[in-house]
C-alpha cells in the first residue's frame, strides 16, 4: 500500500516551486497584470472599460479546475509530503472585510500581490514601495491577531479563575 504521506524530497520541492514561480510571473506579465494602468482600465467599468483581464480568469480557472479533479485521485504530491488544501467553508465577516480592504488597495495602485512581487524583477520603484508596504501590512495584521488571541486567552483564564 502506498502511504498518503510520502517521503519528502526537499530538493525536488525547491526546483518545482522555483519553476512554478517563473511560469506564474511570465503568465502575469503576458496577461497584462503587471501594468497597473491596464488593471485600473479593467476595474474602470463606468469609464473606458478594458475587459481583457477577465480573460485571465477565463484561461486560468478551467486549467486549475481540471488539475484539482486529477489531483483528487492522487495520494501524495510528486515531491512527497501530503496535499495541504484549504478546508474552511464558512464565509465569516472577516473574509469579506479583508477582501474589501484588499480591493481598495488594488484599485488605488493597480497592483495585487503577484504582479507587485514580479515587478521587483525589473527594479520598478513603485513596485518596490508597494511590496515593502504590503509586507508591513501583513506583519501589522499578524501582530493585531496575536494581540487579540492573547487578550481572549487572558479573559478566558480570568473567567476560569472566577469559577474556581
Amino acid at each position: 500500500m502506498i502511504p498518503s504521506h510520502a517521503t519528502l524530497r526537499p530538493g525536488l520541492q525547491l526546483v518545482l516551486a522555483f519553476l512554478a514561480g517563473i511560469v506564474f510571473a511570465l503568465g502575469l506579465a503576458i496577461a497584462g497584470m503587471t501594468q497597473p494602468s491596464k488593471v485600473v482600465g479593467f476595474l474602470d467599468v463606468t469609464g473606458a472599460w478594458d475587459p481583457s483581464l477577465a480573460f485571465v480568469m477565463l484561461g486560468a480557472i478551467p486549467v486549475y479546475a481540471g488539475a484539482t479533479k486529477l489531483a483528487s485521485s492522487r495520494l501524495s504530491p510528486f515531491a512527497g509530503g501530503s496535499f495541504r488544501l484549504p478546508t474552511r467553508r464558512d464565509i465569516e465577516p472577516s473574509v469579506l472585510l479583508g477582501a474589501g480592504i484588499f480591493g481598495v488597495g488594488w484599485g488605488l495602485a493597480g497592483y495585487c500581490p503577484g504582479p507587485g512581487l514580479t515587478s521587483l524583477g525589473v527594479a520598478s520603484l513603485p513596485a518596490f514601495i508597494f511590496v515593502v508596504a504590503m509586507a508591513l501590512g501583513m506583519l501589522l495584521f499578524e501582530a493585531m491577531k496575536r494581540q487579540q488571541e492573547n487578550a481572549s486567552r487572558l479573559s478566558s483564564a480570568a473567567a476560569r479563575d472566577r469559577r474556581a
Binding site: F24, I61, P86, V104, G107, L136
Partner: protein, 143 residues
C-alpha cells in the same frame, strides 16, 4: 477600450493556471501569492524553503520578461508614491485578514468551486471597482 488583448490575457491566464497546477501536483500546496508571502514573514518555523523558492522564481521570471518585453511592466498611472505605499499596506493587511488575494481566491478557490472564495472574489472586485470609480471619476484621476 484602447488596448484590448483577449488572446494574450487568455494565454497568460492558462500559464497562471498551469503554474498553480504544478504547485498542486508537485508540492500539494495552493498557489496563493499573499499566503506564500505571509508564510515567510511570520516567525513560525518550518516549510519556508519552498516559499522562498517560489518567490525567487516570481522575481526571476519578472526579470526575464522585463528583458524581452519591458513595456509589459509600465506603471502608467499618475500616483504619488505615498498613495502606492498606502495601497501596499491595505493589500497586505486585507489579504491576510481575508485569507487570500486574486490568485488564492480568484483562481485556485474558484477553480476548486469554493463558495467562500467566490464571496471573497466578489467582495474584492466590487471594492476595487468602487475605488477606481471614486479615484478616476469623482476625485479626478491623479491621487
Amino acid at each position: 477600450m484602447e488596448h484590448f488583448t483577449p488572446l494574450a490575457s487568455t494565454l497568460g491566464g492558462i500559464m497562471i493556471g498551469a503554474s498553480a497546477a504544478l504547485l498542486l501536483f508537485g508540492l500539494g500546496r495552493i498557489a496563493g501569492i499573499s499566503g506564500i508571502l505571509g508564510g515567510v514573514l511570520v516567525p513560525r518555523a518550518g516549510d519556508k524553503a519552498w516559499r522562498f523558492a517560489f518567490l525567487a522564481g516570481l522575481v526571476v521570471g519578472g526579470a526575464i520578461m522585463g528583458k524581452l518585453r519591458p513595456e509589459l511592466f509600465a506603471f502608467g498611472l499618475d500616483r504619488r508614491l505615498l498613495t502606492v505605499a498606502i495601497a501596499g499596506l491595505l493589500v497586505g493587511f486585507g489579504t491576510r485578514m481575508g485569507n487570500g488575494c486574486t490568485s488564492g481566491h480568484g483562481v485556485c478557490g474558484l477553480g476548486r468551486g469554493s463558495l467562500r472564495s467566490f464571496a471573497a472574489t466578489l467582495a474584492f472586485m466590487a471594492s476595487a471597482a468602487l475605488t477606481v470609480f471614486l479615484s478616476q471619476h469623482v476625485f479626478g484621476g491623479a491621487s
